[in-house]
Subunit: 405 residues, 2 copies
């Protein structure tokens, strides 16, 4: 069960984007497994995709289509990831796009496909295609809540976020949904996220906003350090609010970026809280790096250390393991004696040894709750980075160490 | 329990080196916890130490002493790692060296200290010092088997290896002992290994042999990707065989290196087999890299992937996870379609998709045993690397995710 996940907030409508969900029987009968998101002409799209050497067929097709033109629709299926499926997999992904294009009267290149599920097996494209009319017919500006459920695989909760902000005096809305409970799940690969906004922005400006938002959110979470073949995140901007981002700088851009980052942060943190087997939600905050990159390298080493993560599972204030992780981080740490380590605000280590005021009971109390902050001040400079992760539990092994069913 | 560990072989004597073990009551009464290894004047020493930014006090002192002169003795204690103990920790390590020096009539700089155990607590130097006479008195050229037990912490089996080889027609012996069951154990930090040989070799030549042996052995194993504050490996060469390594090249050097590498490989693999919670011994063999380094980067990514390791625990031929790991490896993979993946000789993936002759039952059969070979041919060049690791089990979480006792 997810760590301290609140119920998904109400997801407001964004003018010009409609989501429709259907049960197409792609892998299991009767469950929502197909989502079609339609957007009006004039919508622009920013996107980021997995950097895996083995990008799945839908990722390859979506990237190619997105580079050619602005999209009119996204099609998302669960059940099969259509990854490691070779040339036939590419044909299947293209066939799904063509079917959506026929249903909507647009060109196939205006459709971006996304898949999540079992790796290495053919996508039953016929079932997907047969389900498209129902998903198209169900389309509604209020369809986001259903869509959040429709893209789930092994997620235990649907994930969505909504924000309103003012851009040049006009109200702008941002809605987003996401799925994922490991960076990759055993077979049910993938982190997918879809965001829509009614701001008006040319693609390069929207892409700049997305790049900025992703850096501190989706690219700063880790469940197990593993990344998937299918990861993708798309932002659609319809322009229907009347508010326009004229450039990738200035106060209007900053205002929009802040709201987009909040939506992305909320979605990304929901994924960590729903991490496989997670019992703790952990914020790793590293300050004092010579650069932000250096701080980030240390944060990543802590956040992916099995020994740190199992200690957090045990609510064990085993600061020696955090020190061990800092010690092996790939940075040039000039003066280790300046490093200070704190757990939920309790200082445990400074000047090369345990803090003389620290008592084990203080650490135990600090780690008793579900939300834990591990703070490391490297004391070398102004660089800082924050990464969110979860602990490593028996359930992680159970979920990932059971034979596939 | 260790995976398929044979009983430790008989450990032969090496002329000029004597090991003595004592129960000094350092942390627990009645167990062997102190080892003193003495060597005769003229012995040379090669060594490698942890690269952690938080090297433990004994590592700092041992490195400094070793840089000054050749050693006459090593002192190894378990119970406390004397890591993260600041200036007092350095004083404790130096006090132990001074006590050994007094007992043996040598200089303190001729003693190298090593510790393993709890991080962050002061070493009870008085107890260590009080135990030294007994460890010195017990010294024997046949003392290696006792010493292998004397350096254990959470190891479930003692670890030792022995080889004889011919160097320029003379018989040369190499004996070694090691401890470690994670790259670092929760509190019982550390991998330690001590090797002795009766070859004659100047330090630079011996160091060259050690560097070569370590690369494919101790530096090519992973239990959990975490490394310790106390890791150290020392090779002592007494010269008593009459065989001399005159240079760091040529057939005599190669012959000695091969035997040293075998001893190190045996010790390193014993550590993996005794890895925390291990139920599988896994050989990850990557070929076809553009360079050995590239192959090694891929092997490391596979060997440290929690998703791969939990699948191996389940004996699940989940090749999608191996592909995922190759996919996220930090290399430039020019042509992913050339990648071939095999499990214990069964080809599962080639040309971007599952091998058409592969059936799930074949994979299940391949993974049923305790020893598993994961082979990845990148198909890009002549580079190759092999890494040994173990799986990730419930017991790993139990051992590391229980509150410290």
């Amino acid at each position: 069960m997810a760590v301290g996940v609140k119920v998904m907030p109400p997801l407001g409508a964004v003018a010009g984007v409609r989501a429709g969900t259907a049960a197409a029987g792609i892998r299991k009968a009767g469950r929502r497994d197909l989502v079609v998101i339609q957007c009006e002409p004039g919508t622009t799209a920013a996107a980021v995709f997995t950097q895996s050497h083995f990008a799945a067929a839908p990722v390859i097709v979506a990237k190619a289509h997105w580079r050619q033109t602005e999209p009119r629709a996204l099609i998302i299926n669960t059940g099969f990831a259509n990854a490691a499926t070779g040339e036939p997999g590419l044909d299947d992904a293209r066939a799904c796009c063509a079917a959506v294009a026929r249903a909507l009267g647009c060109r196939p290149e205006e459709v971006l496909p996304f898949s999540t599920g079992v790796i290495g097996e053919r996508l039953p494209a016929d079932a997907v295609i047969a389900g498209i009319p129902a998903a198209v017919a169900a389309a509604s500006e209020d369809g986001w809540t259903d869509a959040a459920s429709g893209i789930m695989t092994t997620d235990t909760v649907p994930k969505g976020a909504f924000r309103e902000t003012l851009v040049e005096g006009r109200r702008v809305r941002i809605v987003g949904i996401a799925k994922g409970s490991g960076m990759i799940h055993p077979n049910m690969a993938t982190m997918l996220a879809f965001v829509a906004t009614d701001v008006e922005a040319a693609r390069p400006i929207l892409q700049a906003a997305l790049a900025q938002a992703v850096k501190t959110t989706f690219n700063a979470i880790s469940v197990d350090g593993d990344t998937s073949t299918n990861d993708a995140l798309v932002v659609l901007a319809t322009g229907r609010s009347g508010a326009r981002l004229a450039s990738a700088e200035g106060p209007a851009f900053a205002q929009f970026c802040a709201a987009l980052e909040q939506v992305c942060a909320e979605l990304a943190q929901m994924i960590v809280r729903d991490g496989e087997g997670a019992t703790k939600f952990v914020r790793v905050e590293v300050t004092g790096g010579q650069s932000d990159d250096e701080a980030r390298a240390v944060a990543d080493t802590i956040a992916t250390s099995p020994l740190v993560k199992t200690a957090l599972f045990a609510s064990d204030p085993n600061w020696g393991r955090i020190l061990m992780a800092v010690g092996r981080a790939p940075i040039a740490l000039k003066d280790p004696d300046r490093v200070v380590v704190s757990l939920n605000g309790v200082r445990v280590f400074r000047q090369g040894m345990v803090d003389p005021d620290y008592r084990e009971e203080m650490g135990q109390k600090a780690l008793a709750g579900e939300d834990i902050a591990v703070a490391v001040d490297l004391g070398q400079g102004p660089g800082r980075a924050t990464v969110h992760t979860c602990d490593f539990s028996y359930d992680y092994v159970r979920i990932n160490g059971s034979y596939r069913t």
